[in-house]
Amino acid sequence: MTTVVSTRPAPTAAPTGLAADRPTRSERRAGRLLTAPFLVVYLLFLVGPVLVGVVLSFFNTTTVKSGLGDFVGLSNYREVLGDSLFWESMWHSVLFTLLTTPPLVILALGVAILASRIRRGRLFYRIAFFLPYVVPSSVVTLVFLWMYTPQIGLIPKVFGAVGLPVPDFIGSTSGGWTAVVLMTVWWTFGFNFVLYTAAIQDVPADVYEAAAIDGASPWQQIRHITVPLLGRTTSLVLILQILASLKVFDQIYQLLGGGPNQSTRPVIEYIYDTGFTAYRGGYGAAATMVYFVIIVAISAAWYGLRRRRATSSAA
């Protein structure tokens, strides 16, 4: 390798491998070898399923037998787009997103602002708010199922004590949505809380000091400094939350099984049911692709918007 040094043009050149000179053969080889393991796994197991899904959606594949089955053209898609059950489950995922996004974003912002004003006990707040997020969904479901149990559960007792009517948390549609939303807010709000906390720490302290000297009250500081400066973070938290909520499956499946009467079944459970209960692989794949396109379109739109805003603010 010492030859590399002696053949290098002038001492003024930038460091090896990062300079404008041509990359050496060993550098090119190392580059290929070091990326290869990741690239192979990535192409096979992340890009692979997308391609498999596209192919499957044109065939009448069943999940019980191997092999593709008959080619059916676009008929799977026609059936999916005309299936009211698919659109109902799609609506349930959207409804879940509409119900969970506002509390998860606003609560996270509010609690993060409160926490930012307090110097002691940060570990305690971090544990209280973020610990639920690292617990598996099935544990959360078991604990909440127990707390929702009619008559003897804690939450019906609390509802009764406050004077609210006690909903049938597991047996009715509206009660089911209440149950699932409460549980989800408890379980996942810590993630947004962490994102907001990190963003608040990046606000320079002298901005607050200047405001305080000008006589701004703490409330005015929060309203006119903290919240506006968190605009970028809010848009990030919002999109991450929307994408996460649209992918809901675990909680609803485990708490309600999509019931009662499939009235809370989200779209992933619909795909799961058609693919693994009715064994219609090709049809399920077509539903997957429709849903997949919607999700990718939303995140692509957000990335595009963000990039445009970034370039326009840089210019």
Binding site: T2, P15, T16, G17, L18, P23, S26, E27, G31, L34, T35, F38, V41, L46, V50, V52, L56, T63, S66, V111, L114, S116, R117, I118, R119, R126, I127, F130, L131, V134, V135, P136, S138, L142, V143, W146, M147, K157, V194, L195, A198, D202, E209, A212, S217, L236, L243, K247, F249, Y253, Q254, I271, Y272, G275, F276, G281, T288, I295, V296, Y303
Partner: protein, 288 residues
């Protein structure tokens, strides 16, 4: 990143009493809120220590009937919890090892090396950040079946290795290393492999721990994919095994809560030991 743990500068010295009062009010609200947030954990723990008869008779008087650890031993005897633990552990550890190794190698190459296809790899990995993998379980299942990977641990390890986000975490950490250091190592005769393994990896400990912990937690907690891939009871993971305990017809509250407590204790331990890295990891991967 160290800013996260720094105390917040509040009001300057000599601030009006109003500000102090306001902060005290904030503290009270926040503490109340945090206590409410801890209720489900505490409630599960208390229930697991009671017996079913006294739970049903007087659900809210927590001292009725006395406390015991019986529910834990029944839960342990009735369900293969030990096997579930072992499965989860093996899968998560394998996922961590392969993810850290493969993604750091790719991140290193993308940060420092020029080779044909570099731009393409970068573009493909960036596009991968947007792919909703959870939505693709069905084609994923068919693909793994045709590779005869269903029922194996590999089926659970490989999806977490194919995570472009981990590559980007390493990539951004490696970019922070001064190039002079790498040049020096190269002049000393170190191969690229040695530069990666002996120079860059030790410097990037924070990146390693971020990726390792987040990979561990997400692969320990994943539910739908293991539910599909491992269908036999003996080879289930903790989340899938615990989900099978839900039986509304004959509720055994204490036993179910004891199992849940056993399910969240390891995560509490991981969280308490690594909470700083976890929180920093979320902050770095979320706000890129």
């Amino acid at each position: 990143m160290t800013t996260i743990t720094q105390p917040r500068p509040a009001e300057p010295k000599g601030a009006v009493n109003g500000a102090k009062l306001f902060n005290r009010l904030c503290a009270v609200c926040l503490t109340l809120f945090a206590l409410i947030w801890l209720v489900p954990f505490v409630w599960a723990l208390i229930t697991s220590l009671r017996d079913d008869a006294s739970i049903t008779q007087s659900p809210t008087s927590i001292f009725a009937g006395g406390w015991s650890l019986d529910a834990y031993s029944t839960a342990w005897d009735n369900h293969p919890i030990g096997t579930w633990y072992l499965n989860s552990l093996v899968i998560s550890v394998l996922a961590v090892i392969f993810t850290v190794a493969f993604c750091s190698m790719a991140g290193f190459a993308l940060a420092f090396l020029r080779f044909r296809g570099r731009g393409l790899v970068m573009a493909v990995a960036t596009a991968g950040l947007m792919l909703p993998t959870e939505a693709l379980v069905l084609p994923q299942f068919i693909e793994y079946r045709s590779f005869h990977l269903l029922g194996t641990f590999w089926a659970l390890v490989l999806p977490s290795v194919a995570a472009p986000i981990s590559v980007f975490v390493f990539h951004s950490f490696f970019r922070g290393i001064p190039t002079a250091l790498i040049e020096a190592a190269r002049i000393d005769g170190a191969s690229w492999w040695r530069v990666y393994a002996n120079v860059c990896m030790p410097i990037c400990r924070p990146a390693v721990s971020t990726v390792a912990i987040l990979t561990f937690i997400s692969s320990w907690n994943s539910f739908l994919w293991p539910l599909l891939v491992l269908s036999q009871t003996k080879s289930q993971t903790i989340p899938v095994g615990l989900a099978s305990l839900v039986d509304p017809s004959s509720p055994q509250y204490a036993e179910v809560m004891a199992s849940s407590v056993l399910g969240f204790i390891p995560l509490i331990a991981v969280f308490l030991v690594f909470q700083r890295q976890i929180v920093q990891g979320i902050a770095t991967t979320g706000i890129k």
